[in-house]
Symmetry: C2
Subunit: 157 residues, 2 copies
C-alpha cells in the first residue's frame, strides 16, 4: 500500500522550505535586475561575475567559482558570451600552466562603470520595497542570505 501525501505536507513544505523560498526569491530578483540591465545587454549574473573580476590580480577560474558559489563548469559556460563580446579576457598563468586567469577588458570595465548607477537605483528601489513591509529586519535578512551562500561546493571524488 503506497504512502499517502496529505495536504498538510504541501503546506509544510510551502511554509518552511528555505530552499524553495530562496529559489523563488532568486527568480523574482533576477527578473528585476535583468530588466534594469537590459539596455546594457547584460544580465544580473553577468554583472556580478564581471564585478568579481575587478581586482588587481586577475583571479583564476577556481577562485571565482568559489566566490560565486558556482560550479566550476557553470563558470566556464558563463564566460563564453562575455569573452565573445570582448568584455572579459582569459589568459594563461605563467606560474601554473593549468590555471586560467580572468580579467576585465577596458570595454568590460567601462560597461560596468556605466551600469553601476543603474544597479544603485534598482537596489535602492528594492530596499524601499522591503521597507514598506512592516517588521522586516533587513540586516538579519542580508546577513542570513549571506550565510546561506557560504556553503562550500566541493564535489565528492
Amino acid at each position: 500500500m503506497p504512502a499517502s501525501l496529505p495536504p498538510s505536507a504541501t503546506v509544510e513544505v510551502r511554509d518552511r522550505c528555505i530552499c524553495f523560498r530562496t529559489q523563488r526569491a532568486a527568480r523574482a530578483l533576477a527578473r528585476r535586475f535583468d530588466a534594469a540591465f537590459r539596455s546594457f545587454g547584460i544580465t544580473q549574473g553577468q554583472f556580478s561575475l564581471m564585478m568579481s573580476l575587478n581586482r588587481d590580480q586577475p583571479p583564476a577560474m577556481g577562485e571565482v567559482a568559489a566566490f560565486l558559489a558556482m560550479d566550476r563548469t557553470t563558470l566556464t559556460a558563463a564566460l563564453k558570451p562575455l569573452v565573445r563580446r570582448g568584455l572579459v579576457l582569459t589568459s594563461a598563468d605563467p606560474k601554473d600552466t593549468r590555471a586560467r586567469r580572468l580579467s576585465l577588458t577596458d570595454e568590460g570595465r567601462m560597461l560596468l562603470a556605466e551600469a553601476l548607477p543603474v544597479w544603485r537605483d534598482e537596489h535602492d528601489a528594492v530596499d524601499r520595497l522591503l521597507a514598506l513591509e512592516g517588521g522586516l529586519d533587513l540586516e538579519a535578512l542580508h546577513s542570513g542570505i549571506g550565510v546561506l551562500g557560504q556553503q562550500n561546493i566541493e564535489r565528492s571524488k
Copy 2:
C-alpha cells in the same frame, strides 16, 4: 574619457547586493537539496513544483507559475521531463479550453511521499547549520526571503 571603476565599487556590490547574495544562496542550497533528492531521480525544483500540485483542484499553469514566481514558459519546459516520466499529468479544462490543469499521478504522489522525510532531514540539517552561526535571526531571514519572492512577474504588454 571613459569612467573608471574603483575597487570600492566591487566591494560595494559584493557587500550590499541582495540580488547577488540571493543567487549565490540559491545555487548553494540547490546543490545541497539536489544531492539529497538524487536517489529519487528528482531535483529540488522538481520536488517543489510537484509539491505545489498536491491540491484538491488541479491548478492551471498560470496559477502554478505565479505561485512559484516563475515565468510561464519556464514552467512549460520544467513539466516536460516530469510528464515524460509519468509523475505529472496535464489535462484540458472542460470549462476553459485554453487552460491546462496540472495534477500528480499516483506514481508522482508516491514519490513525493517517499522523498518527504528526506526533505525533512535535509532541512533540519540546514537549520542546524544556520543555528551554529551566532546572532542569526532565522525568523527574520525566513520571512524576508519570503517577501523577496512575492514580487509579481507580469510581462509588459
